[in-house]
């Protein structure tokens, strides 16, 4: 593991914690003490723990500071009034660790945590019971007789019955919930099997009979809880990793009062008709109309359009857009529920309701399995009665059938495979939010890509240098470095990379929405759009972005920029097509820009200029055609389509809402995460199916033995344990059948700051 991150190049301001707003993050930690939890994505080694804890404890008023490396969080406790939480964030930022406050109540964390602990406690109880009951059972099997055997059975009952009641709850509640909805899941036969086994064993113990199956009941629960806990761990891990990407949404805005004073208020307190000031690098907190100033706005995350748009007095702006070059004064026209963003969220919610509930593979099997098992048990009972046996013996045989078919191996068949698969994907920086997502990914037959930020990296880059003397280029560099416009930044970064220095100019001024102006040796120079330079517009638009540098004495020089494709974009598309999947490109950008990317990646079907609704409609249309669509997108405008997809993926750089909508999130730049995830998902599915075959084959052998009444507790224990072990061993094969991919340095991508909330994230 590499050690501490290179401090994140931070032209990102650390998030401001306004005193009012800070309250919701704090918790009570004793008399006069407060506590706050901060997410620090950059913590990844021992030295980080040391640096952070030492630095935090050096702050006056801090009582304790503790780093949680697993969750990448820092918990700080301090004496009220002696220090403000904002200090912690600033100190951490100073050390090179961007941090943000974390509320454990958000996004179901607390619930996750509680569920995990409950499962672990149940697992511990089941483990305790299983080992002790097994100890007693082995004594019985090795020949304990009469009073000793009865004593051992009673002791077993004493341990096993409370353990079953306690540790079996996760299964009982799930089974009850399924039955109440008129469905059958795997937990129904499990619960029935465990409960009947315990009751029958108790009956036998009371009557001093030879066979009691307490060990079977508790070991069964133990194995199943292992599977259940693994499943939980997988989801919690993905959720934790994704939450670290989440950032503070622009919660504050600057209101301009009637008397002209500026005041920071919460975005939720904005009302239509209010005036707000939006600084350079800030996002609009509400929809509005510009009343003063001119600027360029980046709306790519909203619309997928790659070129920034010049805006001036009278133009409408939408919440979520990024103000790039000039301060603006805006009257608010819509807030909260009326904004464009809120419309999208409603669209998403509606889509999710339309989606029919997906039935997991194991539950699909349970639909056939449970009735079959119950019919077998019933016919055993009937058969024994018809042969003239006593009710007691007939019932015993029937219950033995239920015990032996209790789907221990089936309960492990899927979670065991999925935890191995998700672990492999996790090491590659791909996070699966649920087991269902993995199952669905294996079934997709159509892949729909978004353009900006998904097929491309979402930031313009200079590809080739125009033919011009070096002095001119270094003048361009000198002008460009003065601006935060994405194209200026791309130009200055591109020139810097080629080793071209910057010449300082005099009287440099930026004219928002138009370009830059400066003077060199008395000659005026301009850098910006064609219109700014007074050059006629292009007659042929090839979809590339350009800026021009012009001097009075010479013809203008044009610099061209492209949004570079993600590494492996072309190879990924080709690979998907080889595997027989249909590939489509849906974008909100201009036709020329989309056509260009479609051609470069080899995608034949593309649609340009789509609204979020139109993207959603296309995905729905494909779904109605019976296709299973994997939607890959990142922007706010992709969110409804992501929610509508059969499966969905988003890069870690996506907008918060995009990552929330997607059920798989991948780190790093390379697009081959899509093919890799799909290959693993398919492999996992086939191994899960093999596991089912193993489990069912075992039943085929064991059921006849049970029906003839020959099952002793020893036979049941051996059969169950061995089938479970076979299933687990088979699952581990998944890890071996792939040469371990070179792990993406898990720490590095985690600190790339997402776009929505770092004002310069997009342009940087």
């Amino acid at each position: 593991m590499t050690c501490c991150p290179a401090p994140v190049a931070s032209d990102n301001e650390p998030p401001r914690l306004e005193a009012e707003e800070a309250k919701r993050w704090l918790s009570y930690a004793g008399p006069g003490l407060s506590r706050i939890e901060l997410i620090v994505p950059g913590v990844n080694c021992a030295a980080c723990i040391r640096n952070i804890e030492t630095a935090m404890q050096a702050i006056a008023g801090v009582v304790s500071a503790r780093v949680n490396l697993t969750a990448r969080r820092v918990t700080v406790t301090w004496r009220d009034g002696e220090v403000e939480p904002q200090t912690f964030i600033e100190r951490l930022a100073g050390l090179g660790y961007p941090a943000r406050p974390f509320d454990p109540r958000e996004s179901g964390f607390l619930q996750d945590d509680r569920e995990g602990r409950a499962l672990l406690r149940a697992l511990a109880v089941a483990g305790f019971a299983a080992s002790n009951v097994m100890l007693l059972s082995v004594s019985v099997w090795s020949g304990a007789e009469a009073a000793t055997r009865d004593l051992f059975h009673w002791l077993s009952a004493l341990i096993a019955l409370p353990a079953v009641i306690y540790a079996g709850r996760p299964f009982f509640t799930s089974a009850m919930a399924a039955l109440r909805h008129g469905r059958v899941n795997m937990d129904v036969p499990i619960s029935l099997g465990v409960l009947l086994t315990s009751l029958m064993s108790l009956y036998e113990t009371i009557n001093g009979e030879r066979h009691a199956f307490f060990d079977a009941a508790v070991t069964l629960l133990f194995f199943l809880l292992v599977g259940r806990y693994l499943d939980h761990l997988m989801r919690a891990r993905a959720r934790g990793a994704i939450s670290r990407l989440m950032t503070l949404t622009p919660a504050a805005a600057t209101r301009v009062e009637a008397d002209g004073t500026h005041r920071r208020i919460q975005a939720t307190a904005l009302r239509a008709g209010m005036m707000m000031a939006v600084a350079v690098g800030e996002r609009f907190a509400a929809d509005g109309k510009i009343v003063q100033g001119a600027s360029d706005v980046d709306r790519s995350i909203m619309t997928g359009e790659s070129a920034p748009e010049a805006v001036a007095r009278g133009n409408p702006v939408q919440a979520g857009m990024l103000n790039l070059t000039g301060p603006l004064l805006v009257t608010v026209t819509a807030t909260g529920n009326d904004t464009f963003l809120a419309d999208l969220i409603r669209l998403m919610a509606a889509t999710e309701q339309n989606q029919s509930a997906y039935v997991r593979i194991a539950d699909r099997l349970a639909r056939f399995y449970s009735p079959a098992v119950h019919v077998l048990a019933a016919s055993t009972l009937a058969g024994w009665l018809m042969l003239g046996q006593s009710w007691h013996d007939a019932l015993m045989a029937a219950i033995a059938v239920l015990i032996i078919t209790c789907p221990c191996a089936l309960g492990l068949a899927v979670p065991a495979v999925q935890i191995v698969a998700s672990g492999m994907l996790f090491r590659r920086g791909i996070m699966i939010k649920s087991g269902a997502a993995l199952e669905k990914l294996a079934e997709v037959d159509t892949v729909v890509f978004d353009k900006t930020g998904t097929l491309t990296l979402g930031a313009p880059e200079m590809r080739e240098l125009p033919r011009a003397p070096a002095t001119i280029l270094s003048l361009a560099h000198g002008l460009a470095r003065e601006s935060r416009h994405p194209l200026s930044k791309a130009l200055s970064a591109g020139l810097h990379k080629l080793g071209i220095g910057a010449t300082a100019l005099d009287r440099v001024a930026e004219h928002p929405g138009q370009g830059l102006e400066g003077e060199w040796k008395g000659e005026a120079l301009r850098l910006g759009s064609r219109a700014w330079c007074g050059v006629p517009a292009r007659d042929h638009d090839d979809g590339r972005l350009e800026i021009a540098l012009c001097r009075q004495s010479d013809s203008p020089v044009f610099f061209h920029f492209e949004d570079r494709l993600r590494p492996q974009a072309r190879a990924t598309v080709a690979e998907l097509r080889v595997q027989g999947l249909a590939v489509e490109l849906l974008s909100g950008d201009r036709e020329v820009a989309v056509r260009r990317v479609a051609r470069e990646t080899g995608i034949e079907t593309y649609h340009a200029g789509l609204s979020p609704q139109a993207k959603l409609d296309r995905v729905e249309e494909l779904r109605k055609m019976g296709r299973k669509v994997l939607m890959v997108g990142d922007g706010i405008n992709d969110a409804p389509a992501l929610a509508a997809g059969y499966a969905s993926m988003a890069p870690a750089t996506a907008s918060d809402i995009g990552r929330t909508a997607a059920n798989i999130v991948f780190m790093g730049e390379s697009l081959d995460a899509v093919t890799f995830a799909r290959v693993i998902a398919r492999k996992a599915r086939s191994i899960a199916q093999q596991n089912f075959v193993v489990a069912i084959f075992y039943n085929l052998l064991a059921v006849p033995i049970a029906m003839t009444g020959l099952v002793t507790p020893l036979v049941a224990a051996v059969a169950m344990s061995s089938s479970s072990l076979v299933v687990i061993a088979n699952a581990l094969r998944l890890g071996m059948s792939f040469s371990e991919p070179k792990p993406v340095d898990a720490s590095a991508p985690l600190i790339t700051m997402p776009r929505l909330d770092t004002p310069q994230g997009r342009a940087a």
Binding site: A46, R66, N68, F128, L135
Partner: protein
């Protein structure tokens, strides 16, 4: 046979002690940060982290 009279309760007691110890350590948060614990053991300056 008579040995069982105290051997069995002893076995159960040991198991119960383990169970209680585990539940206590779970509640005390000892499983909250397994990665961090692995690194902290290498840290010589123990006094720092009383939190």
């Amino acid at each position: 046979m008579s040995g069982l009279i105290f051997l069995i309760p002893l076995a159960l007691l040991l198991g119960a002690i383990w169970l209680v110890a585990f539940l206590w350590s779970l509640r005390a948060g000892q499983y909250d940060d397994l990665d961090g614990a692995a690194w902290r053991i290498l840290d010589e300056d123990q006094d720092r982290t009383k939190g």
